[in-house]
C-alpha cells in the first residue's frame, strides 16, 4: 500500500512537469517506498496523473518496463526520486548526442560537472552515465534525473533544461565560456554536502519518506 503523501507528491510534481512543458512520450516519475518503489504505469501520460494511477514494485523486479528505475534505486541508495522527462531543449541536445559542458554554476552543483548523452539506451549505459551525476541524456530521447527528494529531482530537471538552453543558444550566439573543472567540482561538493542538506531533509519529511 503506497503512503498517501507519496501519492500526492507524485501527482503534484507530475502536474508541475506538465506545466513547465517538460513532458513527452514515455515520461516516468518514480519514488522510493518502504518496500521498493512506485512509478506511473508504462505508456501512461503525466497529464492528469493521479496517485491511484501508480504501481508499486520491488527493487528486484525483472519487468523490462521498470528494471531501469529499479537499478537506479539499487545503485544509488541516497536517491529517493527518479524522473524521465522530455523538455524540448534537452531533447535537442539528446538528438545531437552531445554533452552539455559546465555552462552554469547551478548546473555544476545539482546536475554534475557535465551531462552526457549515453551511447545507447541500455540499462547498463544509463546507470553508468549517472555515476557522480544526477542526470543523463538518452540518445534521441529525453533526460533521466534523480534526487534525494522529488523536489531535488524536479529542480535538477529544471536546471538541466536551463543548461540546455544555455548550451544550445550559446552555441548559436557565439559559443559558451566554460567554468573550469576544479571550480565546478568544488561547487558540486559544497552543494551536495552542505548548501542543500538541511533543505533536503525538511523536504523529505514533507514528501512522506
Amino acid at each position: 500500500m503506497i503512503d498517501n503523501r507519496i501519492k500526492q507528491t507524485i501527482a503534484d510534481y507530475a502536474a508541475k512537469i506538465v506545466a513547465e512543458g517538460m513532458n513527452g512520450k514515455g515520461d516516468r516519475i518514480a519514488m522510493r517506498t518502504k518496500d521498493g518503489f512506485c512509478v506511473n504505469e508504462a505508456n501512461s501520460s503525466l497529464e492528469g496523473l493521479k496517485g491511484d494511477d501508480l504501481v508499486e514494485l520491488s527493487l528486484d523486479t525483472q519487468d523490462r518496463e521498470y528494471a531501469l528505475i529499479a537499478r537506479m534505486f539499487q545503485k544509488r541508495p541516497e536517491i529517493h526520486a527518479v524522473l524521465y522527462t522530455h523538455a524540448p531543449f534537452v531533447c535537442a541536445v539528446a538528438r545531437a548526442k552531445a554533452t552539455i559542458p559546465a555552462v552554469l554554476d547551478d548546473m555544476t552543483q545539482i546536475v554534475g560537472l557535465n551531462c552526457k548523452t549515453c551511447k545507447s539506451a541500455t540499462t547498463e549505459d544509463l546507470v553508468n552515465g549517472l555515476k557522480r551525476r544526477n542526470s543523463v541524456l538518452v540518445p534521441d530521447g529525453g533526460a533521466l534525473t534523480v534526487g534525494r527528494t522529488m523536489d531535488e529531482a524536479y529542480t535538477c530537471a529544471l536546471v538541466l533544461d536551463k543548461a540546455s538552453h544555455a548550451y544550445v543558444c550559446g552555441s548559436v550566439i557565439g559559443g559558451n565560456k566554460l567554468i573550469n573543472c576544479i571550480e565546478a567540482k568544488l561547487m558540486n561538493i559544497i552543494y551536495q554536502k552542505k548548501y542543500s542538506k538541511v533543505n533536503q531533509e525538511n523536504i523529505s519529511k514533507r514528501e512522506g519518506e
Partner: protein, 218 residues
C-alpha cells in the same frame, strides 16, 4: 534603528513575496537566487541561504548590516551573496531593492559572457544602457562581488558570468520590472541571432534545434 516596526513587518512580507514571485514567474529554480530590501542607510533585510522560498516565513529574513555584512540579527543565516546586495546599496543610496536570480534566457547570455545591447526603449529606460557581464567568480567570493559591482556601474542590471543576473531598483516592484525586461530582451536577442545565422525570416525553436544538431551533432 532608524525604521519603524510597522515598516519592518511590511518589508519582511515584501521579501517573502519576492521569493515566491521569482518562482511563480519562472525567474528562478529551487532555492537559488536571493533578494534584499533596504531598511535604512546601513541595514537591509535579505533572504536566508539555501531554503525553500515557499516554506520561508517573513520572520525568517535576517537583518544584515550593510557596512559589515558579517553582522546580522534575527531570522535565519543570510545568503552568502549578501555582500553583493550590500555593496550596491552602499554605493547607490537611490537603490532600495535588489534581486539576484538565474532566469533561463538571462542565463544564456551569462554563460556565453555576451553583453546585451539595448533591445528596446523600455530596456534603455529601466536598465540604463547595454547590460554588461561581470567577471567570473565562485558564488559568495570577493571576486564575484567586485565583478558584479563593476558591471553595475551606471546600470540597473548586469550579468554574472556563468551564474545569472543582478538587478537593482528603487523598490521591489521596479526591481521585478527590470528582471522581466532583461529576460524578455535576452530572448529577443537570441531570436535575432538565430535568424541572422540561419538566414531565415521567421523564428521557431525547431529552426534553432535543426541548426544546432546539424552543426554540433554527432
Amino acid at each position: 534603528m532608524a525604521w519603524t516596526k510597522e515598516e519592518e513587518i511590511r518589508l519582511r512580507k515584501v521579501i517573502k513575496d519576492s521569493g515566491v514571485n521569482l518562482l511563480k514567474e519562472n525567474l528562478v529554480q529551487g532555492t537559488w537566487g536571493n533578494t534584499a530590501v533596504r531598511l535604512d542607510e546601513d541595514h537591509m533585510l535579505v533572504t536566508p541561504t539555501g531554503l525553500d522560498y515557499v516554506a520561508l516565513q517573513p520572520e525568517d529574513m535576517p537583518v544584515v548590516q550593510i557596512s559589515d555584512t558579517s553582522v546580522w540579527t534575527d531570522g535565519k543565516k543570510p545568503t552568502s551573496e549578501r555582500k553583493i546586495h550590500a555593496a550596491i546599496m552602499a554605493a547607490r543610496p537611490e537603490i532600495n531593492a535588489t534581486i539576484h536570480s538565474h532566469p533561463v534566457w538571462c542565463s544564456v547570455l551569462a554563460s556565453a559572457r555576451i553583453e546585451l545591447p539595448v533591445m528596446s526603449d523600455e530596456m534603455q529606460k529601466l536598465v540604463g544602457g547595454p547590460a554588461r557581464v561581470g567577471a567570473y567568480g565562485l558564488p559568495g567570493t570577493k571576486k564575484l562581488k567586485e565583478g558584479t559591482v563593476e558591471a553595475m556601474k551606471g546600470r540597473n542590471a548586469c550579468f554574472m558570468a556563468n551564474h545569472g543576473v543582478f538587478c537593482a531598483g528603487k523598490d521591489m516592484d521596479e526591481a521585478f520590472e527590470i528582471i522581466r525586461v532583461m529576460e524578455k530582451s535576452c530572448k529577443e536577442y537570441i531570436r535575432q541571432c538565430t535568424l541572422k545565422i540561419t538566414g531565415q525570416l521567421e523564428y521557431s525553436d525547431e529552426l534553432l534545434f535543426d541548426y544546432f544538431v546539424s552543426k554540433y551533432g554527432r
